[in-house]
């Protein structure tokens, strides 16, 4: 994997409420792709498809319901009233991985659970993304010395965004989601299918 390289320093967080029409477009996720399309010459039509599909994908990321440990409780908190992940159109937690686009690996991946997490990931249809939430999923975290814990979920499945925290507070979580949206914004259509040059 890894057809997309992103310069992390260029990505900034949206901090103030969008006022102008251009800012609103940027907030919803369309404008960056437009700019990217202008840069890529000779692919105007293809890029329009890019824009629309990327916009659709980043606006409707449906996570799969797979809480593993402590972070799962914060995952519930993210979906609940105070933080409301529904604002990004992500409140449809699908129990069936077939209908999901995004997997939050929320919690410790033990060695016994690892093949199942991997299977869950493989059951998801392309294009799909993974966010490793919390120290345990990123590197094994507190339990990385333990005999029963996998040292990071990226050993078994590709991870797009890591969110440190133990567990990360919901705002940190939403920040991670925004980072993923930025990443999808800059992807080419079919990047996940290996069609990108």
């Amino acid at each position: 994997m890894d057809p997309v390289t992103i310069d992390t320093t260029k990505i900034k967080t949206v901090k103030k409420k969008p006022v102008t029409a251009l800012e609103k477009l940027e907030d919803t996720g369309l404008i960056s792709t437009v700019l990217a399309a202008r840069e890529r010459e000779g692919l105007i039509l293809f890029s329009t498809v890019d824009q629309i599909f990327n916009w659709a994908r980043l606006s409707s990321l449906w996570p799969v319901t797979s809480g593993l440990a402590c972070c799962a409780i914060e995952m519930m908190a993210v979906a609940m009233a105070h933080h409301d992940i529904a604002r990004f159109g992500m409140e449809i937690f699908r129990a069936s991985p077939r209908q999901a686009d995004l997997m939050f690996v929320a919690g410790t991946v033990t060695k016994r659970m690892a093949p199942r997490v991997k299977q869950l990931y493989e059951m998801m249809p392309e294009p799909k993304w993974v966010i490793a939430v919390g120290s345990c999923a990123s590197t094994g975290g507190p339990y990385h010395e333990s005999y029963a814990v996998l040292k990071g979920v990226d050993l078994i499945i590709p991870v797009d965004v890591y969110i440190p925290g133990c567990p990360p507070r919901p705002e940190a979580w939403l920040y991670g989601v925004i980072q993923l949206r930025e990443k999808i914004k800059n992807e080419g259509y079919g990047a996940k299918w290996g069609l990108n040059k």
Binding site: K111, R112, A114, P115, R116, K118, Q119, Y147, A148, D154, L155, I156, I157, P158
Partner: protein, 167 residues
């Protein structure tokens, strides 16, 4: 009256010694007499088996039972000492159903066998895991991986080749 002393009076043959586990009365029981002693303990009104645990002391194992009586509001601790090579004690599942999983867990993590247990298999770790982690001589350096076999059962091996993405 101290329930440990009471137990010693009733079953002098079973109790090796009495003492205190900090503030709880404790009786050290002979390995062979455990089931008898437990029966007597249950008759004495200790209906709540709080915890079963085993500890590895390098040369011997200790199995500790904590009881509580809902009527008398009393605690009692039973302790059994077994040898290190073949740790085996009687199962208490016939008296307390709650002992079932606690004994399985002790078997799983410490490796003490409970004779008479109806279903003594690993509970927390998958079948086929090598070693009992809470023993002091457990090998922490060899990584063991679990993969999925037919029908969703766990298969343990030291080779995680088909699980890991990269070495």
């Amino acid at each position: 009256m101290n329930p440990a002393e009471e137990l010693k009076q009733k079953l002098p043959a079973a109790v090796v010694s009495t003492g205190m586990q900090l503030n709880k009365p404790m009786a050290v029981i002979k390995k062979e007499e455990l089931l008898n002693a437990a029966k007597k303990v249950k008759e004495m009104g200790f209906d709540h088996l709080s915890v079963i645990t085993g500890t590895d002391y390098n040369d011997h194992f200790e199995v500790v039972y904590n009881f509580f009586s809902y009527e008398k509001k009393q605690n009692l601790v039973l302790k059994v000492i077994t040898d290190h090579d073949n740790p085996e004690v009687d199962s208490l599942t016939s008296l307390w159903k709650g002992a079932d999983w606690l004994e399985r867990e002790t078997y799983d993590l410490v490796g003490i066998k409970f004779t008479g247990h109806p279903n003594l298999i690993r509970i927390l770790l998958p079948d086929g895991w090598v070693g009992h982690p809470l023993r002091k001589d457990y090998d922490m350096n060899t990584e063991q991986f679990v993969t999925m076999g037919e029908g969703g059962e766990d298969v343990v091996s030291t080779d995680g080749g088909n699980l890991l993405r990269r070495k």
